[in-house]
């Protein structure tokens, strides 16, 4: 197992190098100049030249790339072109919030999607199944800005159960547990917005794989042994049916860091997604590079975790 993990980890290095080269090239080719937005009538030629020099933009692209790569390996993500502050400071302010939002939304997703999927599969082609299927299609096709605004209107404005924006109460003076509760209270609506589309999708997967497992020989064998239906479902069907979900879980883990651009913007939730979209509009390449690299690495690691988990859920899989 250790050998397998080491091998896989080493295997990700060329991937990361490749991703960084492609990403850097794409950003170089994209139209737009990071300094273009800075120009107002007071920015004279000297000032622009000085900024270019400070940011290393006066050097050839290959040299810029190696400069960036050298710093990146040492854990230095550079200085934001737009805000002129260290990229790691910008990220560290936000990453915790994004991960928190992601985890809560994943909890919602799994807690709701799995039971719904099983319910559907238990009575396939029944009224309940059709209702859930229709609801899933609605959920799946609902754009997140709409879902977000709907939740804000209903639960934030009309019912007033949850805060309609932000990640914590302003000037609250909360500490300890109270602060944590305040954060949780704020994260529920955006997390739900993110979860809606996932729930719609995941309960389809669960339904399909439970149906599939139910038609297998081992399920028939279990039934003919005289086991109760609930035991068949728990011991024989579910365990096998949830294996495909592990793959999805791996991808989800990776995307935890990337943030949710639209949802974060609508809820004024200061996560990585909000910073990402802002950095793309202003062509703030160091920030875009850092976030994209971080996400790519997280997805690679998430996949590795998924592969390792397979060995636990499926005894047939062994890594040696």
């Amino acid at each position: 197992m250790v050998k397998y993990i080491t091998r896989r980890l080493l295997g990700t290095i060329p991937m990361i190098v490749l991703i960084s080269i492609i990403l850097f090239t794409l950003l170089q080719l994209a139209p737009g100049d990071p300094l273009a937005g800075k120009l107002d009538q007071h920015a004279d030629a000297n000032y622009i030249a000085k900024l270019k020099e400070d940011f290393g933009l006066d050097k050839p692209p290959v040299e810029q790339f190696f400069f960036w790569a050298k710093n990146f390996v040492q854990g230095n993500f550079g200085v934001s072109f737009d805000k002129k502050v260290l990229v790691q400071d910008l990220l560290s302010e936000r990453i915790g919030k994004t991960v928190f939002l992601g985890i809560v939304s994943l909890i919602f997703t799994y807690m709701i999607a799995i039971p719904l999927g099983i319910l559907s599969a238990n009575k396939p082609y029944s009224k309940l199944d059709y209702t859930l299927t229709s609801a899933s299609f609605i959920g799946f096709s609902m754009p997140s800005f709409f879902a977000g605004l709907l939740l804000i209107y209903l639960f934030g404005f009309q019912l007033g159960w949850f805060p309609y924006s932000g990640s914590e109460t302003e000037a609250s003076g909360y500490e300890g547990l109270e602060y944590l509760m305040d954060r949780l209270h704020h994260v529920i609506l955006p997390a739900m917005t993110l979860a809606i589309i996932n729930i719609a999708q995941y309960n389809r997967y669960v339904r399909a794989s439970v149906l599939d497992a139910k038609a297998q020989d081992y399920t028939r064998t279990a039934r003919s042994k005289g086991l109760s239906e609930s035991k068949v479902l728990r011991k024989h069907v579910l365990r096998n049916a949830l294996i495909p979900l592990v793959t999805l879980f791996g991808i989800d883990l990776g995307l935890l860091l990337s943030g949710a651009i639209i949802t974060e913007t609508i809820f004024g939730f200061p996560g990585v997604g909000q910073l990402y979209i802002q950095s793309i509009t202003t062509r703030d390449y160091p920030v875009v590079m850092a976030i994209t690299m971080m996400t790519s690495m997280a997805v690679l690691i998430g996949n590795l975790i998924a592969d390792i988990l397979y060995a636990f859920v499926d005894p047939r899989i062994k890594y040696d």
Binding site: P31, M111, P270
Partner: protein, 557 residues
């Protein structure tokens, strides 16, 4: 069996926490009731560089406007006349110097006195070679600032410290421009920044961390959450505190997308939404307890020409285009009246604005056609569009950036109008702002012909930065010795040293500008702010409500 228990347990925990969280939060809402607090919103996130010499974003400026005092402020005519930190000042007759007297009761929010040393430190900071911001222009006029900037001098020659509260400035030369463009007027606390590295100051806690930022204005910065909110608290050391200013105890600035902000305003959850899109005006008008105010903004939108492009080099063609565009329709149709038609780059709000210049800048399609014919552009093949003097097809391209709805729509109107006048237009797909700006700025670019963009203008009417032949912002590549001479006269000639004299000189320049038409001025969108009527004492002008100097007198019912 075990797994199931864990599942149920975790479900119970999450549910329990949510309920608890709801209970907690509703309990606490009564806490701030005694404080006089208002909540204002900004559409997009602030950068968080809360230093007057270093900020770049307009959202940072919202916060700085309320937390840092300046020497002086501008009145509703855009003239620097309202005293703030400076008790009084006097410009020399030849406009080559100024004496400034500071008020003695001004303090920093940490209690240290604010003296001329803070102001001198700030000027030297901005003139420092290592300084990374863009404001050197506001110090450059002081005699010896350039030498200091280049490292040739240890002190700035033109600054003379008389005592703690008095100083004299000498300028490079006699210069008729407004004091605000010649003298940077917002001091930084010397005792905080004195021994810090100039180059990397953006990363210093004294710029970023609420507890380290020392301010001089009506409010101090109490709490900053990146991308989310800034809480401002009444500054007890503010010089106006003795008179009970500001009246509010707290201002919360929240980052909120406009649609949500308008909803929250309706529900009474926020008190003020600033810089509202004209299209939202009618929606908000119907809200109970909400007041809307608007005034002409200082910025404007324009249609730019590459005047060095062979297709646009003839000024008769450019004039024809100006006559052919129905700009009135943009203001009434697209802006729904929430804007002003513009015929001079000088703001209609300014003391230097001459209303009679509007006359020769109106919609006149017949005149447009006549001018085109005069320049040799005629429809020779009967397709309804003019051909160039050589008889070849004549098509002009028009580019515009994404992001401003009204501007995007105006591109289509311009095409319709110009095609009606017989000029075929190739309307390009909108580009990202950063992408279009890159091409507009490229000095070697030969691809662009016409584009749409906007300018934010200064308090002073001087056109040099935007329309001078040598200006970095002269994207239209308008080279006019006549205009340059006129600009120079309006800045440095003795006749310009009186207000009336300067106004006449600027009018002379504006005529040259209108005749040559390096751009077509389109419109100036209104600043629209909406606030809950529980706020009292609100005044507004071109700066909107929150930018108006009277905000220290705001109160809540």
């Amino acid at each position: 069996m075990k797994k199931r228990k864990i599942g149920i347990l975790s479900l119970a925990v999450v549910m329990g926490l949510s309920v608890f969280a709801t209970a907690c939060a509703s309990k606490s809402s009564g806490d701030g009731a005694k404080k006089k607090s208002i909540t204002a919103t900004m559409n997009s996130t602030f950068d968080g560089k809360f230093n007057p010499a270093l900020y770049d974003s307009i959202y940072d400026a919202y916060i700085l406007d309320q937390s840092f005092a300046s020497l002086w402020k501008q009145d509703e005519k855009l003239e620097t006349s309202i005293p703030d930190l400076a008790e009084s000042w006097k410009e020399s007759e030849k406009k080559d110097g100024v004496t400034i007297k500071l008020r003695k009761d001004a303090k920093w929010s940490d209690g240290k006195p604010l003296t001329v040393d803070d102001m001198i430190f700030t000027w030297k900071f901005i003139a420092d070679k290592e300084y990374s911001g863009s404001r050197f222009e506001y110090v450059e006029s002081i005699k010896g600032a350039k030498e200091y900037h280049e490292g040739k001098a240890k002190e700035i020659e033109g600054i003379k410290r008389v005592d703690d509260y008095n100083l004299e400035l000498t300028f490079d030369k006699s210069d008729a421009r407004d004091l605000s463009t010649k003298v940077w007027s917002t001091p930084m606390p010397k005792h905080i920044f004195e021994n810090k590295p100039v180059k990397t100051l953006e990363n210093d806690p004294a710029v970023k961390k609420a507890e380290n930022i020392v301010t001089s204005g009506p409010f101090t910065i109490k709490e900053i959450k990146a991308g989310e909110f800034v809480v401002l608290e009444k500054n007890k050391n503010f010089y106006g505190a003795a008179e009970g200013k500001p009246k509010l105890d707290q201002i919360v600035w929240k980052v909120l997308q406009e649609d949500v902000a308008i909803g929250a305003l309706k529900e009474g959850k926020v008190d003020m939404v600033s810089r509202i899109k004209p299209s939202s005006f009618e929606t908000i008008k119907g809200f109970k307890d909400v007041e809307l105010v608007e005034d002409t903004d200082l910025g404007y939108q324009y249609l730019g020409f590459r005047t060095d492009h062979p297709k646009l080099a003839d000024k008769k063609v450019r004039r024809a285009i100006a006559y052919a565009i129905n700009r009135e329709q943009m203001v009434t149709g697209l802006l729904k009246g929430h804007g002003t038609l513009l015929s001079t780059p000088v703001s209609p709000k300014s003391w230097a604005y001459s209303k009679d210049l509007d006359a020769d800048y109106s919609y006149d399609p017949a005149k447009a056609k006549a001018l085109l014919a005069e320049a040799g552009y005629k429809d020779t093949n009967g397709d309804g569009f003019v051909e160039d003097p050589a008889g070849k097809p004549y098509v002009l391209s028009l580019e515009f950036p994404k992001g401003n709805q009204v501007r995007e729509q105006s591109a289509k109107l311009i095409r319709e109008d110009l095609e009606k006048a017989g000029i075929k237009i190739d309307l390009k797909q909108p580009k990202d702002f950063a992408a279009l700006a890159e091409t507009v700025q490229q000095k070697a670019d030969k691809t662009m012909e016409m584009w749409l963009m906007g300018w934010t203008t200064d308090v002073d009417p001087n056109p040099k930065n935007i329309y001078g032949s040598a200006a970095e912002s002269n994207y239209y590549r308008w080279k006019s010795p006549e205009s340059d001479k006129s600009i120079s006269v309006s800045m440095y000639d003795q006749k310009a040293f009186t207000k009336e004299g300067r106004k006449a000189l600027i009018k002379d320049w504006t005529k040259i500008f209108q005749q040559d038409s390096p751009v077509v001025l389109l419109y100036s969108q209104n600043v629209i702010d909406a606030y809950n009527k529980r706020i009292t004492g609100v005044q507004y002008d071109y700066r909107g409500a929150l930018g108006h100097p009277s905000f220290v007198d705001w109160d809540v019912k």
